[in-house]
Symmetry: C2
Subunit: 346 residues, 2 copies
């Protein structure tokens, strides 16, 4: 008999509420013979306030033993900006070498978009997750004085760029349209830009069926609102990926439905799946949060672990649920979770 | 009698066509007693192809003597990416210390936006123009090998940040809504982020009437498409400013109407004004380019030099022209220029 040993990090605010629904749907969709084991971890603002800890070496050792990690959301306004981001989220991405940060954007029927004319949107962003301006390199001198200088160093390696570019090409190759866009700013960030562009062009030779294009990040934001249908797979660096995936989520139905995976494709460390939204302290504890993004993150988790049929059932359940929302009264977090659990079990 | 001594850089592609119309409108709007002198410079791809030069010290000396610079657009596909950007555009911005990169976004009546529901958009982005990831700091080792490492260093100084933040506060103070948003990514880029945030908060104390907010750049892209009416003045770093001003242009009517100023507020060097769009080689020479962005850049130029009434007349002429476009056949570049020249003279 098979087993799925899951680390669960509900986190703060609505993280608690949406993760409960994610697990509900996961239990409902898993085949009978798969034994689901979960262990909950109390990382996030509450633990930080109580102990000052964000993520210890012992925590990392414990997390390592799981097949995958499901995260709700981390953070509350009482924690200084950067503490949990650097001390927990980024620390985990770096420690577990989550170099493929996967963020699909699909505008589903019945879902509202801020764009006029309900365009067809169905693309996936492969964001590099362990390099670029996110490495924490840099520093400050003469802090707090009128002569302060602060630097941020974007670090890009052939090793790091090639593996994520290769992953993106493989994903493009597996999709019907077989298109891949590299997004960067190689006319200004010429050192990193040339590395990305050269490796992209080199790997392209191994994927002759994939149609490629290059786009500056500034121009990409224009296309994301004027021609989002043009995109199929996008590969980009850590910071550009952060920026354009929030925009992508906005145009394709909002962060209420945006899922993401922090993936280590080698399996050397467990991958982590999380909704793109934050802990939303303003609506926490009221049963108002939409668990859909978390449920879709569970689908990404299942697909990563090879449960393709189960992942597809979740995607279909979510599509059907969203399509029937228009004109109906709003449901609570757990009502939406219940409805999705019924659909995937059915 | 007064004089206006203008350097004109038509550049490449449609740059030539739109600058001609910008000058037409400028001549029409200037008071009779102002003597307009223009000198044209052949910078851009043509000169680069012919001589290998982009911008020499002698060129800079010549440009320095003018009151202001009007630029069309630079670039063609035959020039390797980065050569004219670093060798001309950025070189000029850095040499003339254009630290206030001013980009207004206003959705005018009659102008199409990709957003549903025709939101009210009227904000201005103050983008830092001489620091951040644009400094060209960084480098490459082991180029072309599997061990290549490429870095890009974002350099941020208290001096550079404070002057642009101060400029943005003054602009916010002078507008009816008096709102200023700082956009950065201070939860990840903590060195630069703290410098920006601390200086922003410090200068805010001198402007008690200005309402401030902080927003991460990723979240800002969401608000720019879901709630663009929330913005009044935005201040941000060089790279974030590059990205969000293209998005801002897209949602507020497209880059056909987006104007910009590369401003040295001290007047130590001439400021440069240019449309946000590029040289568009695909439509060059066909009289299809819309000169509106260039004409609006002329208005920014006039306002910078103290010709406020004339600048306002251009803005009004453009508004009236755009409002009457709907349903009419498309006009040529020079027909639009003629119409605007008639309006500002009238
Ligand atoms: C919270 C922050 C560190 C994070 C990031 O910048 O990657 C978030 O914005 C995201 O996109 O997952
Ligand atoms: C062409 C390029 C160097 C430039 C920039 O990145 O600043 C352009 O995108 C702009 O916004 O003016």
């Amino acid at each position: 008999s098979r087993s799925l040993n899951l680390a669960v990090i509900p986190g703060d605010g609505i993280g608690q509420e949406v993760v409960a629904e994610g697990l509900k749907v996961l239990s409902a969709v898993l085949p009978q013979d798969v034994k689901l084991e979960t262990r909950e971890y109390d990382f996030g603002a509450r633990r930080y306030h109580a102990t000052g800890e964000t993520l210890t070496d012992a925590d990392l050792d414990a997390l390592k033993k799981h097949d995958a990690i499901l995260l709700g959301a981390i953070g509350d306004p009482g924690v200084p900006s950067g503490v949990l981001e650097r001390g927990f989220l980024l620390k985990l991405r770096f420690a577990f070498d989550h170099h493929v940060n996967l963020r699909p954007s699909k505008l589903l029927p019945g879902v509202a978009t801020p764009l006029a004319g309900q365009p067809e949107i169905d693309f996936v962003v492969v964001r590099e997750g362990t390099e670029g301006p996110y490495t924490g390199n840099g520093g400050t001198i003469r802090k707090g004085t009128e002569h302060e200088v602060a630097t941020e160093v974007s670090v890009n390696t052939a090793f790091g760029v090639e593996r994520v570019v290769r992953d993106a090409f493989a994903r493009a190759q597996a999709r019907p349209r077989k298109k891949l866009a590299l997004i960067h700013k190689n006319n200004v960030l010429t050192f990193a830009g040339h590395l990305w562009t050269n490796i992209f062009n080199k790997v392209a030779e191994e994927f002759p069926e994939v149609t490629t294009e290059y786009m500056h990040v500034d121009a990409a934001t224009i296309y994301l609102v004027t021609q989002p249908e043009r995109f199929d797979v996008i590969v980009t660096d850590n910071l550009f990926g952060d920026i354009i995936t929030d925009l992508a989520a906005a145009v394709s139905g909002g962060i209420g439905v945006a899922a993401s995976g922090n993936i280590n494709p080698s399996g050397a460390f467990p991958s982590m799946f999380e909704p793109v939204h934050g802990s939303a302290p303003d609506i926490a504890g009221q049963g108002k949060a939409d668990p859909t993004a978390t449920v879709l993150s569970v689908a990404l988790l299942l697909r990563h672990l090879g449960y393709d049929a189960e992942a597809a059932r979740i995607d279909e359940a979510v599509s059907a649920d969203l399509a029937e929302r228009t004109g109906k009264p709003a449901r609570s977090t757990s009502e939406i979770g219940d409805a999705l659990a019924v659909r995937v079990a059915g």
